[in-house]
Structure formats: structure tokens, C-alpha cells
């Protein structure tokens, strides 16, 4: 199992488009992928858009990303990349 801390950097947070992108990427892997708010208020299955949206992760929210499974290394890289690039959205 791999673990990493990620931060939401795009202006609108994990809204519908960003969440859709995350879920599409996550669903491409067989590993289980979870996101949990560092403040412990919510946790989500990264392959479920409804649960990702319920993280209510606005900009600046820190999340704990855990990945476990056969392709966990690739999955971790791919998901971290999305967060690093702000889901390709406006970060100002």
C-alpha cells in the first residue's frame, strides 16, 4: 500500500469537472484508491464521483491518498499528477 499527501490547487476545488477527471483516471486502474481529508471529516472512493464530490474539497484542502493493488505505483503517479497540475484548470 502506498500513501501520499496531496493538495487541491485549482481555484474551484474538486468540482464536477475535476472530479470527473479524477474518477476517469482512477477507474483505469485495478488498485483500490482512497482519498481522505487530513482533517478526518470525510473519506472517498476515488472511483465514485458521488463520494469524491462529498469530500467537499475546496482549494487548499489537504488529502491523504492511499493506493493498494497490483498497479499501485502507476496509479499513485497518475493521480498525483492530476493534483499537481490542478486538473488542468485555472490555479490563480
Amino acid at each position: 500500500m502506498l500513501e501520499r499527501r496531496v493538495v487541491v490547487t485549482n481555484r474551484l476545488g474538486l468540482h464536477a469537472r475535476a472530479a470527473a477527471r479524477l474518477v476517469r483516471v482512477a477507474s483505469g486502474f485495478t488498485s483500490g484508491i482512497r482519498l481522505e481529508r487530513i482533517d478526518g471529516n470525510a473519506a472517498a472512493d476515488a472511483k465514485s464521483i458521488l463520494s469524491v464530490l462529498l469530500l467537499a474539497a475546496a482549494r487548499g484542502t489537504a488529502l491523504r491518498l492511499t493506493v493498494a493493488g497490483a498497479d499501485e505505483t502507476e496509479a499513485l503517479t497518475a493521480v498525483c499528477e492530476l493534483f499537481e497540475h490542478g486538473f488542468g484548470e485555472d490555479q490563480e
Binding site: R11, L12, G13, L14, H15, A16, R17, A19, A20, V23, R24, D45, S48, I49, L50, S51, L53, L54, A56, A57, A58, G88, E89, D90, E92
Partner: protein, 601 residues
């Protein structure tokens, strides 16, 4: 046939504002702006067989909904651009989400409940959780859940949610929202009629953009029309007839024949040959562009470049700002389309209502609020990234910048300084920039009164006649209750246009008239009479305007425009246009395309 049924079939008439020309006879297709199908009932299932059947019914509904959404997404990508299609992807993912699917199935099994009820209960639970979210923007996602729920319930009811558009559909809605417009297959839509909306409403602009006849402001048509009813729409006079008699249909067809109903796909790549009036004055016709769906028309109808590109379309509906790179790609595409004649990119003309939640409280008077250039100056980060995107794209094409809603010379100076700073910065970064001219929209009365000063500060003028009429005459252009006060030919409007054109001429800068006014041949002729030589309009209107202007003499329309300027009322000016243009060139200006004769109220 009993008497009552007979009665129901009798003709009913409405009159609205014709916002996209054309005449059509077809069948009503009502589009809801919301509401669940019937009420959601609770049934108790008797045995395992029923439970299995109910689960199967739910899965089929989810499958159908996903299929609808995938089709919608493809269509939206094509018509509106990939940027605007993401919302459908989010909806598809919700319908693939095991959290939703499993919860509903569990509920059906455990509670022995029917699928509708289970869907509603699961959705309500989710909505309750979402209501707790503190962030406004994220909390709004609940509207997506509502939309998906509604779609599922429609699928279960067997009623179509996304209406499969019939071949001869006339869309009837209370108001056609842009999101609903994205769902339409415009290939099959013959006309649009809505209860609300005005000449420059989003619906009107989209309808003109895709070349579908539209009448708005029909008040209570939606309540009376039923899907499948026969309906005739005359989007020239604004007349709508429900249950038209054979005689009425014949009359509509005859009018359509006479006026040479414009065909949507009549566009072929027309070489934009120079257009001259009979006395040899050259007139340039350009295209106003907003949606990617309009792009093919720019070449197709022979536009000399793009006179107005409404960049705010790049913002998604929820107001997500496009990045500099996304913008640069979009402007490059626009520049490629416009070719050597170039494109004028109008900076984001938007206000509080379009920008991400929490940035602005609702304004009481958005038309007079923090919008357009005011917003750009208040949010220099937005202006800077847009300026950088245009400057960089201009390295590979001909692009200019138009500053919207200028009311003071100082705004031009401030915007220009910021743009210059970004140019210097880009050069420092080693990124290529193109030569970009800066123009001002002349659409606020104070800009008209200061036109001589403004002309010395900018490289060109763009006259936005829609907003000029709204601000000069203090008439809300979206309010159909005051539509009759929206008088494009009001002498005050004509004097303002004349003054701005003269100021540009004196300063030797170009002036483009880019309001929708230029799209009507008679009005275009008056604009030429006022001194306009450069007009920009919805591309599909170009052939008509070209045809008319090629046969008028600039000297003669100047005389007619002079008489309009001397009129003391809007009625009088319209009368001059109706009689003088109609009598001088009856074959060019058919009565139904001229201002209607005044009736005493």
C-alpha cells in the same frame, strides 16, 4: 367530433418578438425547465419475482439514461466545444457510480419498494448530505444530482427526458436556457418559441447563430401548447398560431415562398468579392461569432474576417476561467478561420452572474454593474491572462482586442497599460507576440459623447448597437414587457451612431458597426446612409445584406438616413424607413422586413 373537441382545435394566436428570421410550420415539442414526471409513488412488491423485475427495470433505466447522456455529450462537444461537454461526463459517471446503483438496488430489495421510490429516497439522502457542504460552489453540485435523478425518473416512467427531436419540431419553452439548448438536435428543429426573452437574449443569439427561426416573449404559449400540436411560427412578424387552419398554413407557406425563406445549409464557400454600392462605395461585411457551431458559416457565407468574437463563450456555464493556454488555442483557431482579414477579440463581456460563486453578491442591476471592462480592471489577473493569450496567438494570425463597455477614456488607458506590460513580460520570457490593435466598444452613451477624445486613444471603434439602444433609451433588452420601447431606429440612437462614426472618420480610425442591427437589410442600408462602411453580423445574415447593399446607392440612402435623423420620434423615423426604402427599392425591402406600420394603441 363533439363540440368541445372541436373548440380545442380552433386557432389560437400569440404575438411575440421575432428574433431570428424565418417561417416554419411544424409540431410542438415542449421543453421543461424542470419538474419531476408525475409524483413519485410508493408501491410494495409482493414476491421475489417482482423484486427481480424491479431491479432489472432500474438497471435498464440507468442504461438508457447513460446512453442518452453519451449522445448528448457528443452533440455538445460538436456544437459547443469540448470545454462545455464535461458536465455530461460528470452525469454519466454518477450513473455508473456503484454508490448510487447499489444503494438503489439494496433499497428495492430490502424495502420491497418500486424503483421510482428507491431512486427518490437515495437521491434525497445524497442531497441532504450535500446540503451540509460549506463551499457554495461545491454545494451547487446538488443540482447535478437533481438533474440525474430527474433523468432516471423519466427513464423509468417511459417518458423521454431528453426529447428525441421529431423531424418537424417547433421547440416551445418558458425560457430556453443555454443548457437546454445544448440538448437540442438543431438539425431537426424548425423553429423556437418561448414565453420569455428578448431580442438579445442568449436564446435569440443562439437561434440566429444556428439559423433557426425564433419568436420570444410569447407570454403564456407554453401553458397552452401540448407536445404534438400543430403550430405555425412567423419569425418575421412575430406571429404564432397554434392549431393553424389549412388556410393559415397555406398563408404561411406563401409568405415563406415570397420572402425566399433562408435555408440553413445553403452556405457554400463564397469568395468574399468586394461589395460596392451602385455608386461605387465599398462596404465590408464581417461575421459576429460566439459558438464553434457558427465557425463553418464564417467562410461559408463569405465574411471578410470576424468583426466580433464574443470570448465569454470560453467560460463554462459555471464560470470556470479558461487557462491562458486554452484561450491561446481558441484564439488561434479563430485567427485561422478569419484569415488575412483578421478577428477582433472582445475581452470577456461578463458580470457577476457568470463568475464563480462567492465572488459577487447578486447585483440588483447587473447591466449597470461590475461587468465587462470594469470586471477586467477589477480582476487584472483575468485581463492579464486573456491579453497574454491574444498577444501570443497574434504571433501566428491577425488578431485585435476590443475593450467592452468603455465609459471613460481612463479605462482605455488603464487597460492599454496592462496589455503593454504583458507584452513586455512576454518578450522578456522570450515568447513571440503579434501586433495587436486595441479598439473600444462604443455602446455606453458617455462614450458617444466623448467619442472625439476616445478616437485619439484607440486604434478602432466597434459600435455595439444592442447595448447602445439599451443604455441610451434605458430599456432592458431582456425584458419583453418593455420590448416596444426598444427602438433601434430612435433618432437618438441614429444621432449617436452618426456621431461615433464621424469621430472615427475625423481621427482616421476604422469603425465597425457590429450590433445585430446590421443583420437586417433595411437597417444595414440606413447604417450605410449614416456613414458606416464596415458592418459585422451573424454570418448567416451576410448574403441577404450583401444582396441588398449591392443594389442601393450610398448617396440615396444618405438622404433617407438624413430624414430619419431629422425625425422627432422613433415612429416617424420608422415611417421614413418603411415608406422611403420600401418605395425606392420594393424588390429589395419587402414589406414584412420593414418596420410595421403604426397602429394606434
Amino acid at each position: 367530433m363533439n363540440k368541445k373537441a372541436n373548440n380545442e382545435r380552433s386557432e389560437r394566436r400569440w404575438r411575440g418578438v421575432a428574433v431570428s428570421e424565418g417561417i416554419a410550420v411544424g409540431r410542438v415539442l415542449r421543453i421543461h425547465s424542470g419538474g419531476l414526471p408525475a409524483s413519485v409513488f410508493r408501491a410494495t412488491l409482493d414476491d421475489e419475482g417482482q423484486i427481480t423485475r424491479e431491479v432489472r427495470r432500474f438497471r435498464a433505466a440507468a442504461r438508457l439514461s447513460r446512453r442518452q447522456l453519451r449522445a448528448l455529450k457528443r452533440r455538445a462537444e460538436k456544437a459547443l466545444g469540448v470545454e462545455h461537454a464535461y458536465i455530461f461526463d460528470a452525469h454519466i459517471l454518477m450513473l455508473e457510480d456503484s454508490k448510487l446503483l447499489e444503494d438503489v438496488e439494496t433499497l428495492i430489495r430490502r424495502e420491497r419498494a418500486n424503483a421510482e421510490w428507491a431512486v427518490k429516497v437515495v437521491a434525497d439522502r445524497l442531497l441532504a448530505v450535500y446540503a451540509e457542504i460549506k463551499d457554495d460552489y461545491l454545494r451547487e453540485r446538488s443540482s447535478d444530482i437533481e438533474d440525474v435523478t430527474r433523468r432516471l425518473l423519466f427513464a423509468l416512467s417511459g417518458e423521454p427526458y431528453t426529447r428525441l427531436v421529431m423531424r418537424d419540431a417547433v421547440i416551445v419553452a418558458e425560457e430556453l436556457l443555454p443548457s437546454a439548448a445544448a440538448e437540442l438536435d438543431f438539425e431537426h428543429v424548425r423553429a423556437i418559441a418561448s414565453d420569455a426573452g428578448g431580442w438579445t437574449s442568449h436564446t435569440a443569439i443562439i437561434a440566429r447563430g444556428v439559423g433557426i427561426p425564433a419568436v420570444v416573449g410569447a407570454r403564456d404559449l407554453f401553458r397552452h401548447a401540448r407536445t404534438g400540436d400543430e403550430i405555425a411560427v412567423d419569425a418575421v412578424s412575430g406571429e404564432i398560431v397554434l392549431h393553424p387552419s389549412a388556410r393559415t398554413i397555406e398563408r404561411f407557406h406563401a409568405t415563406a415562398m415570397k420572402s425566399g425563406r433562408r435555408t440553413r445549409h445553403g452556405a457554400t464557400d463564397i469568395q468574399p468579392a468586394p461589395l460596392h454600392t451602385t455608386d461605387g462605395i465599398e462596404i465590408v461585411l464581417r461575421a459576429n461569432v460566439e459558438l464553434p457551431a457558427e465557425f463553418p458559416d464564417v467562410r461559408g457565407y463569405g465574411a471578410r474576417g470576424i468583426g466580433l468574437y464574443r470570448s465569454e463563450f470560453l467560460l463554462t456555464q459555471r464560470g470556470v476561467m479558461p487557462t491562458e493556454e486554452e484561450q491561446r488555442a481558441a484564439y488561434l483557431e479563430v485567427a485561422g478561420l478569419a484569415g488575412v482579414d483578421g478577428a477582433k477579440i472582445r475581452l470577456f463581456d461578463l458580470g457577476g452572474e457568470k463568475i464563480g460563486a462567492g465572488e459577487n453578491d447578486l447585483e440588483r442591476n447587473p447591466a449597470l454593474g461590475l461587468r465587462a471592462i470594469r470586471f477586467c480592471l477589477r480582476r487584472p489577473d483575468v485581463l492579464r491572462s486573456q491579453a497574454r493569450a491574444v498577444l501570443r496567438a497574434a504571433a501566428d494570425g491577425h488578431l485585435d482586442i476590443v475593450l467592452p463597455m468603455i465609459s471613460d477614456v481612463a479605462e482605455v488607458r488603464r487597460a492599454r497599460r496592462i496589455i503593454d506590460e504583458e507584452r513586455a513580460r512576454l518578450e522578456d520570457e522570450g515568447l513571440a507576440c503579434g501586433a495587436v490593435k486595441i479598439g473600444a466598444m462604443i455602446e455606453v452613451p458617455s462614450a458617444v459623447l466623448m467619442a472625439e477624445h476616445l478616437a485619439r486613444e484607440v486604434d478602432f471603434f466597434s459600435l455595439g448597437t444592442n447595448d447602445l439602444v439599451q443604455y441610451l433609451l434605458a430599456v432592458d433588452r431582456g425584458n419583453d414587457g418593455v420590448a416596444e420601447w426598444f427602438r433601434t431606429l430612435h433618432p437618438a440612437v441614429l444621432h449617436s451612431i452618426r456621431r461615433a462614426l464621424m469621430a472615427a472618420e475625423a481621427a482616421a480610425i476604422p469603425a465597425i458597426v457590429c450590433g445585430e442591427m446590421a443583420a437586417t437589410p433595411a437597417y444595414a442600408a440606413i447604417l450605410v446612409g449614416l456613414g458606416a462602411r464596415d458592418l459585422s453580423m451573424t454570418a448567416s445574415s451576410i448574403p441577404r445584406v450583401r444582396q441588398a447593399l449591392a443594389k442601393v446607392s450610398a448617396a440615396e440612402v444618405r438622404e433617407i438616413a438624413r430624414e430619419c435623423l431629422d425625425s422627432d420620434t422613433a415612429d416617424a423615423a420608422e415611417e421614413v424607413v418603411r415608406i422611403r426604402l420600401g418605395e425606392r427599392w420594393p424588390e429589395l425591402f419587402l414589406p414584412e422586413f420593414l418596420p410595421a406600420p403604426k397602429r394606434e394603441v
